[in-house]
Amino acid sequence: MSALDGPLILGLPSKGRLKEQCEAWLAARAITLVQVGDARAYTARLDGVDGVDLRLMSASDIARGLLAGDLHAGVTGEDLLREMTPNLDSLATIEARLGFGFADVVVAVPDGWIDVKSLADLAEVTAEMRRASGNRFRIATKYKQLASRFLSAHGVVDLRIVDSAGATEGAPASGTAEAIVDITTTGDTLRANGLKIIPDGVILKSQACLVSSAGAAWSDQNRAALAALRG
C-alpha cells in the first residue's frame, strides 16, 4: 500500500485531560474514539469518520511527527510546535484552534523584584548582574528556543538559558536560576512559588490545535478526512 492510497494518519493525545477534551471535540462532530482493549492501552480507532488511522501519542511526539511528515494531522499545543521549529508556517498548517489546552508561555521573575515591571527592566537587571559578578543571568526553561528568540528580540541578551525538564517554577527559590520561562494557565503555580509574570513578557498564548503536516503525502481522500475532522 503506497502512502497515497493510505488512510489519514492522525495523532491524538494518549492520556489525561487533553485526551478527554479531544474526545469531547470529536463528539461535537459525531465522531467517537473507541478504545481497543484496556482503557489504559494506547490503541484506539475513530467511529464516525472514514479513512483515518488513529495513533495515540504524547503531545510532543505528535508535534515531532507533524514536523517530520510522519503524521498527516494531529492535535497538539502550538507551544510545542513553535519550540521545535522557527519555521512552523512552512512545515505545517494550523487548521483550527480548539478552545482547550490553554497555556501561555511567559517570562516570570520573583514577585519581590519590585523594580522589574517590563522586559526593559529585566534587560537592565541581567546586564547589572554580568557587570557585578561576571556571570550571566540564568533563565530556567524547557522552552529554550522560544525563550532565546523572544528575549534576544527584546534586547535581553546578558543571559544563559539553563535546561529545566520539570518543576521549573522552583528554580529561582532553589538558586539554580534567577528567572524562568514556563507555561501557565491560571498563574496559580507561579504565585504559589513566589513568582510574577512580566507584563510584556508573554511569549505565546498557546492552545490545543488541529494541525496538518506539509511534509506528509496527501491524497484527495486524506484531505476529505481532514475536512471532516475540521468540521
Binding site: 520573583p110 534587560a123 528556543q145 525563550a147 532565546s148 543571559l159 544563559r160 538559558i161 513566589g194
Partner: protein, 376 residues
Amino acid sequence: MTGPVRAVSPGSPVAAALASHGGVWVDMPVLLPAALVLELSGEALRPRLFFASGVDGAELCLRPDLTVPAARAVAAEPVSGPTVWLQAGKVFRAHNPDEASPDEFIQIGLERFADPDPVAADTDVVAAALEACVAGGLASPVITFSDAALLALVLDDASLSAPWGEVLRREAYRPQVLRRRLAEAGAPDPAALSDLERQLAPLSQAEARDTVAALIDGTGLNTGATRSTDQIADRLAEKARRALAPALPQVLIGSLNSLLAASGPLVDTLDGIVATARDLDVDLSGWRTIWAARIDALNARAPHALAGARFDLGRARNFGYYDGMNFDIEGAGVARPAASGGRYDSLVEKLGGKPTPAVGCVVRPERLGGIAGGGW
C-alpha cells in the same frame, strides 16, 4: 553536475592567497562545549546552533566559526611566540527561516596570535583577506572598517556630568542600549518615577536598603536565592537618581549620537570622528595615528586595497568577540560580506588562557562568485 569534489585544498586559489603570507595549516575540533559558545556569544546565537550530546551527558555544539576553536587551543596551550594558523573547514549555523542559505558551509580562516607589532598584523590580515577574495573572483571588492573599542575610548575620556558618565560608559560595547541611554540623558523624566523611587531618591544607601527590605519582607514577597533586597534597592535608587539628575547638554548628546552614526568614506570618516571627539574634550590623535599607520601600510602593500574603502561604526559587532579594528569585504552583486575579520585581543583570556593579542579573518568562498562548485 560533477558530483562531490574536494572544495578546498591548501593549493587551491583562495586558500593559497590567504596562505601567501605564511602560516601553518591546522585542523581544530568541530565539537565544542555548548555552554562555552553560548557564554561568549549570548543566547542570541542559540537558534543558529546545532547541538549534540556527549555519551557522558555533556552538552556540545558544532562549531559556528573557526576562531573560537583556535582561541580555545591557545587558551589551553599558550603560544611561545608569534603564531599564524590557517584553517579550512565546515562551520555549522542553522539558516534563518527567511533565508535560503545552507546550514553548513566552508570557511577559510587565518588567525594570528602574539604578534609583536599589532598594526603590521592587522595589515597582513586585511591584505590576505582581500587577496583571497580577489583570487576567488570577487568583483569590485570594497572594505568596510569599524572599531569595536572606539566608543569605550571616547566615553572613558569624555567629561560627562554624574551620573551620565558612568551610565553611558557601561554601555560602550552595546550601541543600541547606548542610544536609549543617550535619549534618557537628554531628557530625564522625574514624572515617570514611582512613589517608592521618589521616596528612595534623597535617602542614603543604607536607609534606602532598609526601606526596601522592610517593604519586601513585610509583604511576604520573594527575591529568589541569588538577588538580595539590597540589589533591588540600589537599582531603584539609581533609577531615581537618573530621572532626577540634570540633563546632559544637548550639544554633547548630539556629538555622541553623531559618533554612533559615523559612516562614510574611510579617511573622511576617521577625521570626522576625531573632530567630533574634540567637541567632547576627547583627544583621539593617538587612535587616529594608529589608523593612519594601518592605512599607510595597506597602501604600501596593496595600492588598490583601499579604493572605495569605508568606515561604518554601526558594523562594530554587538555580541561578537571582536574588540578592536574589524572589517567586512563585500563585492559587486554580493549581498553579504564575502570575508570579515578583526582583532579579538581579549578572547583567549576570556577562555581561561593568558592574555594573547590576536587578529584574524575568515573568507566565505561560496560568496565570492568566481569559482563555481568549489576548487577554492
